[in-house]
């Protein structure tokens, strides 16, 4: 029971990060119907930006409060990563509207390979470990030091709280602002939205920027949680976040969050109770099974194929 509760907390922490990345996949898929394969690598770029910003703020500028530093790091990462995502959309995806079916996906795969290797060349192939931060834990059950104690670390609280706050802001933007309305309109019918005066190109760009911002938040939180980044860190979390988006029903934003939490829980529980060597197999198997047997996911609309 204690193990289960502990794993539940760990799973929700991990799932928050996946959920934030998954929103980027699901929004882009909803609006232009492509799998943005490079999104995982955008997330990876954001972890590097966050790492550099964190080191610059703490060592060069000497900001004393770690919370203030984290907040600044998150904002810097969000801004910088959105430029990356905007540029990627502009260079690699926008010229391909109306090209053949597989062109955007192939272009996205190329972009993903490019980003991964660009970071490897620019930042070096080795792990970049930070000393652990905010390790103090709160005991929810059991005494300190007991084997069956259930704990939650400060950084886990920050991760879950930051995710919740950002999701609330994001939800407000999508549901209540004219920007969100334009986005939903383009999602429903691109041509009709354009005829009614929605700037489709701009809306798509903003979708990529929002996705990148959430990925950057996930990147900062990932850095906080694991403290280690590497140039190929985008691939596996990217595929898992895509799995989360598919599991929740691709195109559905609450679905992406739900899927992220479920994937986080599945992964953590699998590692705890079955085998930690095969924990990635669990996530990949979920992807395969969901796509084959339940392609519209938990909260998605079934897809109708039109000629």
């Amino acid at each position: 029971m204690e193990t289960f509760l502990q794993q539940l907390i760990n799973g929700v922490t991990l799932g928050s990060i996946y959920g934030l990345i998954a929103i980027g996949y699901t929004m882009v898929f909803g609006i232009i119907g492509m799998v943005n394969f490079a999104h995982g690598d955008v997330f990876m770029v954001s972890t590097f930006i966050a790492l550099i910003a964190f080191l610059a703020l703490t060592t060069l500028l000497g900001i004393p409060s770690i919370f203030l530093a984290l907040l600044l790091v998150m904002i810097i990462a969000m801004v910088m990563t959105s430029v990356w995502s905007w540029a990627i959309e502009r260079i690699a995806y926008r010229p391909l509207r109306g090209s053949f079916r597989l062109a955007p996906l192939i272009s996205a795969i190329g972009m993903s390979i490019f980003l991964m290797n660009f970071v490897q060349v620019a930042q070096g192939p080795r792990n970049k470990p930070l000393p652990p931060m905010l390790n103090e834990v709160i005991y929810l059950m059991g005494e300190p030091g007991a084997a069956n104690a259930v704990t939650i670390a400060w950084r886990q609280i920050i991760i879950i709280a930051a995710t919740a706050i950002l999701l609330a802001i994001f939800w407000y933007v999508v549901q209540k602002t004219s920007l969100g309305r334009a986005q939903r309109a383009v999602e429903q019918d691109r041509k009709m939205a354009a005829l009614l005066g929605v700037d489709v190109d701009r809306t798509v760009s903003i979708t990529f920027v929002i996705g990148a911002m959430l990925a950057a938040v996930a990147g900062t939180l990932y850095l906080l949680q694991y403290g280690v980044v590497r140039f190929d860190d985008g691939f596996i979390p990217g595929v898992k976040a895509f799995t989360a988006a598919v599991l929740g029903g691709i195109g559905s934003i609450p679905g992406a969050v739900l899927g992220g939490l479920l994937i986080g829980l599945i992964e953590v529980m699998w590692a705890a109770y079955v085998s930690s060597d095969y924990k990635n197999v669990a996530a990949f198997s979920v992807l395969v099974v969901v796509l084959i047997f339940m392609p519209s996911g938990l909260l998605g609309r079934p897809e109708v194929e039109k000629v």
Binding site: V35, I52, A53, G110, M111, F118, P129, F284, L287
Partner: protein, 505 residues
Amino acid sequence: MAPAAAPSRLQQALRDAAFAGLVTAALSFPMLAIRVESDMNNRLVLEERWPLMFAAIAFIASARFLASMLDDWRARAGAVAGVWSMLLGAGLAWFTTGAQAALAPWFLGGGALLLAAALLLFRASPQEAEPASGAAPAAASAGRFVTLAGFVALGVVVAYPLVLLGWLGPQGSLKWINNYGVQILIYVMLGWGLNIVVGLAGLLDLGYVAFYAVGAYAYALLATTFGLSFWICLPLAGILAAFWGILLGFPVLRLRGDYLALVTLAFGEIITIVLTNWVELTNGESGISSIPRVTFFGIPFTAAPDGFAATFGIAFSPIHRTIFLFYLILVLALITNVVTIRLRRLPIGRAWEALREDEIACRSLGVNTTNTKLTAFALGAMFGGLAGAFFAVRQGFINPNSFTFMESATILAIVVLGGMGSQLGVALAAVVMIGGTEILRELDFLKAVFGADFDPSQYRMLIFGFAMVAMMVWKPRGLISTREPSIFLKERRAVAGALVKEGRG
């Protein structure tokens, strides 16, 4: 002159260049300008590299400026190359000393010449309108030219190891036959195998390396456990891989294009994870070593009295095995090619290509899409398996690190850059991409320019990735996009790729 209200061409170009430079600055500010390194105490420190960032800005902004100023693509390419060369020369003169700085005038002068030549030759030439009506006959002769070029290339490849052997001797030619010949031909074969799946049937397979791994492990395990010879294992490896292709294909082939890509990606990853963790069978990360070497149909390539050299009465040399491997992979690759070309003309091949163009139309016309996809998938898998068995016998050692997603991505990049569906294009792409990056390593000239620790193979995947994007944006049908119709009525009329608009199924 342009009216005052509208910005002049120069103003517009300057504005474009400034914007591109600004974006580059924003992109490269933390990622290029600052590098995170571990110091002696394993703590992370920041290392500042501002010149790199300014170089990136200068390169991108100048290219954008020239692209806005010039209309003709030849003028653009020449001018950009010239200006970049001059920038490189300026950088060398500014930041380096000694031998590196001594090269600067050459870059400056050469760049200036190139720029002047590009501007003088091509600037005045008006935009040529594409002769739409003349495209078809031109394409027909281009198709014949492609066939001819294929045969010439084949002749060159067949003669390649023997010419090298005669020219450089057994010692000198080993590297060229092994690193360039065999290595490239493996990728040619993998590219042709994947081309059946991606290029002909239009199924994006991101886990092709799984079948390559199945073939390699099939041979390695059968040979080390049961002592079976390579010549028995080779067809077995192919059959096993095809079987896996069918097994995986059955559930996944109902999926639409991009979902299929991700499921195959997941399968590829699962296979790698299993190969890494199922230590009892595969020996995990440490891999399987001492895999039996290839034999000349039973005669081993050793110095022993029953070896190849003694049997044929020639002096023993390890080059014999390498040359034999070269011709073996050449034959395997050619089998892939011939089977593909012949199958394209059969109903099944025509069904593949129809499926690629429009799946719904296919189903409406009564094509069994599941069977059609499965055959393509299984056939592609089989050739992947054969290539895998060859890889295992050539290396003598395999471990899961040879079968990562990057390998799948490399093969996919070769197929995409070759122009999906074109056999000669795929072969050329493999030669350029694999051979080209190997050649770059040989060039001492590059080391002289970029410093002694410059390793071009680092940039291989970087270039691959970027080339894939550029290809999709610029020529989605590939460099050789002209193709002969697989089947024709009375008259052979080739279709230029530009005229074929792919259905959005």
